[in-house]
Symmetry: C2
Subunit: 514 residues, 2 copies
């Protein structure tokens, strides 16, 4: 089972080293393995059977990690649930995956009650961080009453988890990943960030997301210590890194910006960091420049992936993180567990410099979408996963992301990549945040449209912006229309929800790709 | 196929970096992949089919590596053949594995002819390093005439190779390893020695052996450059490390000793080394001390494994390599791809400090012995591989090897571990080399017997030796009889062949374990 093996190996060979640090509570690897093996027995006693899907809906905690491994230990299938979902979305996931037990914490007690009221059949409830009440069994009681059972004997090719993809492009789909996929992805991450035994990883992004998951599994393989914050809070993250001498952390660029502007920020508090990974969106140059100035000893790793690849596709090594350098905007080269190619609409590899869709493959790739054979067949072509990302390879083989296939704008027959336009718009002094989308246009099919959050006290017009953009990009790429907003809608993973922005414009129109 | 994926990834993303350096010949990753894909086509054209077993009998070379990957690329099963085998042993292997094609080099041309004369059926011959002759096709011709085919589509669970175990304990057995086993073992090695992209590995030990194979596959995954010497020669090895700035090398302790006493030795010629791995036997303290004095910047990695585990079991990290230190004689803790436990005769785990047999498991474990279901059933117990090695775990979980189960001496009901006795004997000033074995004894069942190579011009008696040993070990462990020899018989992997030493003593006697 590979990741379970790692727990067992740590318990046998690092018995007294610290496995988890959560607030004032710490457990050694021997304790962690004991708690997992007892909780696994507790789940069995509750009637959860091998192969059953078990959901977790909770903030980050050591008990989240224990529950996750207890589910695997007893042969269950993990379903990490998105902490931003509405009750309806939670119910969709529970019905779609056929979840028979739900693990939650007090932060989601209300949601769990609403789910219980509406879910069909008997859904078992386990609460992570409170005493037993009439509606749920406490994880601590499962651990106290369970006996340490042997891990369920399963193959590395078996289903380990169903990871629902974020809501940027429609209804969530359940990505099925095997134990081998999770293990090989973790290996790819360990090799890329050179995570070492004796390290300490901070869980700062939501644990339901595989960005955290991949690094977490890597820490498990290397026997590194897991440190937790319940959710991202700049002051908390800085304090935890400082207090527990954290070596490895993954953040999205927005979070890094929030750290830098926090009152609690001081580079010497981050002295223990060895590797800072970031991804999900390009890092703004000023944030990167400050990182490099303040933390010259830290390896900065730009990672690119998606859940369907477990989630590892490629990464840019620290020495290429040179602001303004030729590779600064690249997502680098494939992880050791992945291959990637750039293809045209017919699936044929294109020449360096020519944009096309990235296809990826490797042992970390998904088995398919849960209960969606048609979507699977459309996504896995001859063993390669269609990523939906447009990119090109440069002459040195570095990948540069242009856009999401679904976000790319086709205007008057020309392809426009939103990211390029967004970079030009973002350079305008009045712009705080921007998302560029295609909207219907009677003349051009689609029109380049910019949704802008202006800086406080600033404003701007479409003409201002167009004049600015024409100095940076070709005329046909410049926004023809703009709208100003106070904020942009974002997913739990921090991605801007372009579909939500596009929706009102497209009512009554058909978009080629949606 | 995992290792094939690594070749493809290197060709796509490190196209112009150097893959192989062999004498004056260098190839880039793009060239290496092309040569492999064309040679694969050539093998197909010769009638080699997917699933066919293909043997390689050759000294180390870049073409050995190309042939190895060409076999995998076209779907064949690799059978690396032991360069020390007699023609009879080669024939045994060819018949046992059902080999249909034999790859060899001019160093083994005579052996290949003898094999051809005696082998049944049609055995195709491919020569690595010469032009085509009537008896064999040249690899260069296969490459020149082949077209680059796509790699055969196979599963990671399929058989990749049959690796015959050395001859220390009877007839060679074919260890079946899957692509996943080879890949996970390579990952374990990469994580242990922290092999980095941009590194350069020297193939200094025979390539047929998985000690070299494991590191070689690791270098493949990390896109490191492969440098070759045809066979171990101290001056050659030193020159190649110096000339090509080699970073990673694996040697057996005897070889390290030969480097140190070579006229060509100079620490500054080994300045590029980053990691020196050694294993197969304990490293003598003076050799280790000199390594540490001369090469303080080099990570010294003591590795322990066996072919059945692909071959990774455990390793001792550099900072524990302290001569006389509490862990100096340990083989450390399991690789990231392995678990290990110490059990008694009933398979129950024993307490720290108590010797028992090491059992190991993990994704790098063998599928079983080729054509030997009974041996497989005796060796893989509930998913754990019986290693045949006696060891204990200390209180910190470090493994210490005591002996081979088969070499352990039972004398008057007491267990005696040869390694302990050998250490005591080796401390005698007149002793150059020693092997301790059990020989039949009418009173004690077995008697502790020492086979000794004295230092030049020195001699010693059984009484001398016993008096010396009694100052170091318990009386019942001291050798009761000795014999003096000019040299000890060793296997191709550098292991002393105790079975050969025991044989004349046991003619007409039955030994409990043989």
């Amino acid at each position: 089972m590979l990741l379970i093996d790692a727990v067992r190996r740590n318990a046998a060979f690092r018995a007294d080293e610290i496995a988890t640090i959560d607030g004032e509570e710490q457990h050694t690897w021997a304790q962690f393995a004991q708690r997992v093996a007892r909780a696994a027995d507790g789940l069995r006693q509750m009637g959860v059977a091998p192969g059953d899907r078990v959901g977790i809906l909770a903030w980050n905690s050591a008990r989240y990690l224990e529950a996750q491994f207890a589910i695997w230990w007893m042969g269950g299938v993990l379903v990490p649930m998105n902490i931003r979902w509405s009750v309806e979305e939670n119910l969709y996931c529970i019905r779609d995956a056929g979840i028979t037990a739900l693990v939650f914490d007090t932060g989601f007690a209300e949601a769990a009650r609403a789910i219980a009221a509406q879910a069909e059949g008997s859904l078992r409830h386990i609460i992570l961080d409170a005493a037993t009440d009439e509606a749920a069994t406490a994880l601590e009681d499962l651990i106290a009453q369970g006996t340490a059972i042997d891990a369920h004997d399963t193959s590395h090719d078996n289903l380990a988890g169903i990871y629902y993809t974020g809501g940027t492009t429609g209804f969530p789909k359940g990505v099925m990943l095997s134990f081998l996929a999770l293990w090989t992805a973790a290996i790819g991450i360990v090799l890329a960030n050179r995570m070492a035994p004796g390290g300490r990883m901070l869980h700062a992004t939501p644990m339901f997301h595989l960005a955290d998951g991949g690094m977490s599994h890597g820490a498990m393989i290397q026997g590194a210590t897991h440190v937790f914050v319940p959710r991202f809070d700049p002051a908390d993250v800085i304090a935890m890194i400082d207090r527990h001498q954290v070596t490895d952390v993954l953040l999205v660029p927005t979070m890094i910006g929030m750290l830098q502007t926090s009152d609690a920020y001081a580079p010497e508090k981050l002295r223990s960091l060895r590797c800072l990974s970031f991804g999900a969106s390009p890092i703004p140059a000023p944030i990167l420049a400050r990182l490099q100035a303040d933390l010259p000893h830290v390896n900065l790793l730009h990672v690119y992936g998606q859940t369907e690849m477990g989630p590892t596709i490629s990464y840019l090594e620290p020495h290429h993180q040179v602001p303004g350098g030729p590779k600064a905007l690249s997502v680098g080269k494939p992880f050791a567990c992945a291959e990637a190619k750039v293809v045209d609409a017919d699936g044929v590899e294109v020449a360096p410099g020519v944009p096309g869709e990235i296809m990826a493959r490797g042992p970390s790739a998904m088995m398919g979408y849960w209960n969606k054979p048609e979507d699977t067949a459309k996504t896995i072509i001859d063993g390669w996963v269609k990523t939906g990302d447009v990119a090109y390879k440069d002459a040195d083989g570095f990948l540069f992301i242009c856009d999401r296939v679904k976000d790319m704008i086709i205007t008057g027959g020309e392809n426009v990549f939103c990211a390029e336009v967004e970079n030009a718009v973002a350079a305008h002094p009045a712009v705080a945040q921007v998302a560029v989308i295609g909207v219907p246009d009677p003349d051009f099919g689609e029109r380049v449209h910019a949704v802008i959050v202006p800086k406080p006290g600033q404003t701007l017009t479409a003409d201002d912006l167009k004049a600015h953009c024409k100095t940076l990009i070709a005329n046909y790429k410049c926004p023809r229309s703009i709208e100003l907003r106070d904020a942009l809608p974002v997913s739990a993973a921090g991605k801007i929800l372009k579909r939500t922005l596009r929706e009102p414009h497209w009512t009554g129109h058909a978009r080629a790709v949606n």
